[in-house]
Structures are given as C-alpha cells and as structure tokens.
C-alpha cells in the first residue's frame, strides 16, 4: 500500500542517523579499547590487547566490578521485594483506588534522579534529618556514621530510584493475567496460596525478569550515587571509568572497562529475553 519513495523517506533518515550517532560510537568504544596513550598523552592508534590484560592483572578492577555487581544484586532484590507485593496489591486488591495509586508510583520518576540522591544525602548525613531525629527522640546519643558514605547509602538510594522501574513491568504482567484463570483455579478448589504459586506467579515471571533486568543493569552502571553517597567503600566500576576519562587520563583503558560492561549488559539482556520467552509460553 505504500510507495517506494514513502518507504525510503521513513527508512533512510533514521537509519543514517542511528548508524552515525549510535552504531559508530559503540564501534569506536570497541576500537579505543585496543589503543593506548603515549607518555605525551596522545592516543596511539595501534591494535594491542594490553588494556584487557591490565584488567585481569590489576586486582582493583575485577574487585570493583564484583562489588558493583553485589550492590546491583542487592538493589535488584530489594526493588523486587518492594515492587512485587505493591504491584500485586494494586492489581488485585486496591479496587477503585488503583489508578490513583498507579499515578502515585509514577510521580517520583518525574523528580530528578540527582535531586532524589541529594535528598537522601540530606537525610542520612551525620547532622542530617535522620540522625538529628534519632537524637531528638533520644534513641541515640551521637550520630550514626555508617548511614552515609557507605555501600548501604548507595543500595538504599538506588533501591529508591529503581523500585518504580521494577514495579512497572510486574504490574503490566499482573494486569494481563486473564481473571477467569484465577477464578477457575479457585473453583477447582485451590487454596489462595496455591493459586498464587501455580497460576499468578508463573504468569508474572516475564514482568519480574524485565523489572529485575532494568534494576540490575542500570544500577550496575551508576556512578553518581556512589560519588555522592558512597564514600571510599562504595566506589563502583563506573567511578573508575570516570576517573580514567578525567584526571587519570587513560581513555583506552576506560574504554576497555566500558566495553566489558557493554558486553556484560548485552549478555544479560539477551539472557533475560530468552528466559522471558521461555516463561511466556507456559
């Protein structure tokens, strides 16, 4: 039904743009990861594996990567623990308040990420809101120092930011479950918990996978929350990349780490897509 010219007009401009501003930059990241820096701080365009060797030779890179993955894993688990029951409640129990409560989950997403991280800093600091509150009600006599500048602060802040992201796909999956399936399960005599375990939970797995992937991937690559709230013990892998691109001035090594992250993330996306497909045909 559409002419050739029309097809060319809707296809070629986006294709060219995406090739120039997405495909080419990601390819450049790959190229840079083999290059190196001369003592005079010029980029040497020779193809060697030194940067990747460096990643496995110096402990701090892998250690930081594992710490970042552990932080991201905790963020994912907490986001699911907060997001799943909330989605379940909205979908099955909230009745007429459902739409209003849904909006209430979305609104925090419209508050700047940076501002919310900053707000947690003002809450958790040693003369912050929480510490002064605890002293005001005489629960503690001096500020608790582990609250800010710790992995705890990073996990808390990232959980706060990614809970709505985990909630959204789970809620969508729950909303798509045909309600008569649940009635059938009930009519056939399954107790509520069994209905949940055998009907609702399996059908919501694709949503859980999508939410978990979002939370894990985005918190894994975060560098602002650790810079703002993490302190020395809360440094994450992206912070190393940022410093390599800044003061340390070793773009190629930073590119190698970033490219490793890119591969890891795409692998995870691929895996979660496979799993989602597997679960959606049950």
């Amino acid at each position: 039904m559409f002419s050739r010219g029309y097809r060319a007009a809707i296809t070629i401009p986006p294709l060219l743009w995406v090739a120039l501003f997405l495909l080419l930059p990601y390819a450049l990241l790959f190229c840079f990861s083999f290059w190196s820096v001369s003592p005079a701080q010029a980029i040497i365009h020779s193809w060697i594996l030194n940067n990747y060797r460096e990643l496995f030779r110096v402990n701090v890179y892998l250690q930081t990567l594992f710490r970042s993955m552990w932080i991201a894993a905790r963020v994912t688990i907490f986001s699911l623990l907060l997001g799943y029951p909330l989605a379940y409640y909205l979908s099955f129990g909230a009745g007429v308040k459902k739409d209003f409560l849904y909006q209430l989950v979305i609104i925090p997403l419209w508050v700047s990420y940076l501002v919310r991280a900053y707000a947690w800093k003002t809450i958790l600091g040693s003369d912050g809101v929480l510490n002064t509150l605890l002293q005001y009600v005489h629960l503690t006599s001096h500020p608790l120092n582990f609250l800010l500048y710790s992995p705890f602060a990073v996990v808390l802040t990232l959980t706060h930011i990614y809970t709505p992201f985990a909630f959204l796909p789970i809620y969508a999956a729950l909303e798509h479950i045909p309600r008569n399936l649940i009635e059938v399960s009930h009519d056939l005599g399954a107790p509520p918990l069994q209905t949940f375990r055998r009907v609702i939970l399996p059908l919501s797995i694709p949503g859980v996978l999508a939410g978990a992937t979002f939370a894990f991937v985005l918190s894994l690559g975060d560098f602002l929350a650790p810079l703002l709230l993490g302190g020395p013990s809360g440094i994450m892998i992206s912070n190393i990349v940022v410093s390599l691109f800044g003061a340390a001035y070793n773009w190629p090594l930073g590119a190698a780490i970033s490219f490793g992250m890119l591969v890891l993330v795409i692998g995870l996306l691929f895996l979660s897509e496979r799993l989602e497909k597997k679960w959606s045909f049950r």
């Binding site: 002419s3 501003f21 990241l29 700047s112 003002t122 985005l218 993330v265």
Partner: protein, 277 residues
C-alpha cells in the same frame, strides 16, 4: 474485577506493605520540599524558622537561571530531533521491510537500557575523533539520539492502535502519500506524539549521565546542581528542585487531563456508533 473472597488479596499485610513503600518513595521528596523552607539550613530535626530566604536567594542567582535556560534550550532541541527521527523510525518499523530491521530496532532502544555512562563515553569519543568541540550542541545531539527510543516506542504503540482503513480510504479517494501522512496519519498519532514529547522533554531536563561527558563551557541545570553538590549542601538546591517538581507535576496532570478527554471522546464515539447500528 473483584476476586473471590478467600483469595490472597484479602491478606492484611499487603495494604501495610504498600503504605510503607509509598512512605519510602515519598520520604526524600517531602524532606526536600520541607527543608527548602527551613531557616536553619538542610538537615536538623525538627525543621525550624520557616523562611522564604532560599527562594529569594535563588531568584537572584544568575548561574542557576542560565543553566535553566540552557536546559530548556537543550530539551526543546532534543524533542525536535527525537521526534523528527523517531516518528519515521516508528513508521518504518511498522510498515516497511529493510535489511537490518531487527538490529535497527534493538540499536534504537539500546540507550534506554544501557547505563548512561556507556552512551555518553561512546559519543564523547565520536566527537573527539570527529574534531567537534564540546558544547550545548554535543549535549543536544546526545539527548536527541538517546531519546529517539522514547519517540519510537510511543509512536509505534500509537500506530498499532491506528485504524489502517482511514489511510486506505484517503489513498483511494485520491490523496497522495504525503497528503495522507499529514492529514490522516499524523493527526491520528497526535496523542502519542504529545505524550512522547512531554516524556522526552522531562527526561532531557533531568539527564545527567550522558551530559556529564559531553558538557562544554555552558552547564545544564543538573550539571550546575551537581557542581554545587560537590562543593557542599545548600537549601537553594532544595528550592530549585521543589519548583521543578511542582512544574513537572503540573505537566503530568495536564497531560492526563488531555488524554482522558481525548480517550473519553473516542469512547463516546464508539457508544454512539453502537447505539446507531
């Protein structure tokens, strides 16, 4: 619909859990707003000495307002780029076959799922190798490109709901493709496009991870705030954040009103058709 009486939705802990989660989600936002009026600075319980000083100070702070103007400029330009490419991209994905279509779809969506640092760095390398100086223009290119994904998904969803018969009728009645596009397709996608534009605008206003690497001399608002945070905490940041929160809230409410009204119209039309037939 309601579930049978005995199903687990009657569990008493669910509403409590929901209350707790909402408390957790809103605690920082409420704190932020409350302490923007706090005379004795950020932190310190209970808040005391109600004051508007921080807002007064804010209004004479030129650096902040310059960064707000920069951010608005970037956001408008990003909306224009993302829509100009995202609408055709959605049309192409919906109704054209071309080599590399699957790759293209994934590539467009990638910046939305990847940590911003990867997209930011990759673009930084592109601009460096291309000999382009970093400025607001590089940020606009970054935002525009990353947010094509939003325009594409929103418009693609709109196209799925679109009634093809209208376009076919227009073509049968002698309109050419372009007339059909401007007079039938585009007006039907109006809501998806407005929704996409609003979303892209807010995301761009808030974006920091990509901008962090592409910034030249002029700051966007998030980067201005970032710079100040590194120097120390000031309630002025609470004040500007509260103002922006109120504005985005107004934007969302307007958008939902708009959509409710438009969807209401469609429902009414459907009812009329049903009643007539």
């Amino acid at each position: 619909m309601e579930l049978p009486m005995s199903s687990p939705n009657r569990s008493h802990w669910l509403p409590w859990h929901a209350t707790l989660v909402f408390g957790f989600l809103y605690l920082p936002i409420v704190t932020l707003i409350v302490y923007s009026f706090n005379g004795s600075g950020v932190g310190g319980f209970p808040p005391r000495d109600f004051t508007l000083d921080w807002y007064r100070e804010l209004f004479t702070d030129d650096a902040i307002w310059n960064s707000v103007l920069n951010s608005l400029f970037v956001a408008f330009a990003a909306v224009a780029i993302a829509l100009a490419l995202g609408i055709p991209a959605a049309l192409a994905l919906d109704r054209a076959n071309f080599p590399g279509k699957a790759l293209f779809r994934r590539l467009v969506l990638l910046p939305l799922i990847l940590p911003g640092i990867i997209t930011g760095l990759s673009l930084l390398m592109l601009f460096r190798e291309g000999g382009m100086k970093l400025s607001l223009v590089t940020i606009i290119l970054g935002h525009g490109t990353a947010l094509i994904s939003v325009a594409t998904t929103e418009v693609f969803a709109g196209l799925q709901k679109l009634d093809r018969a209208q376009e076919e009728a227009s073509l049968d009645l002698g309109a050419n493709y372009w007339q059909t596009f401007w007079r039938v397709t585009l007006p039907n996608l109006r809501l998806s496009i407005i929704g996409a534009a609003l979303l892209i605008f807010t995301l761009s206003m808030d974006e920091i991870a990509v901008s962090f690497f592409l910034i030249g001399r002029d700051n966007t608002l998030p980067l201005e705030i970032w710079g100040r945070l590194r120097r120390g905490i000031t309630p002025e940041i609470n004040a500007i954040s509260s103002i922006i929160f109120v504005f985005s809230l107004a934007a969302i409410v307007t958008w939902y009103r708009l959509r409710a009204r438009a969807e209401g119209r469609v429902e009414i039309a459907a009812e009329l058709v049903e009643a007539a037939s």
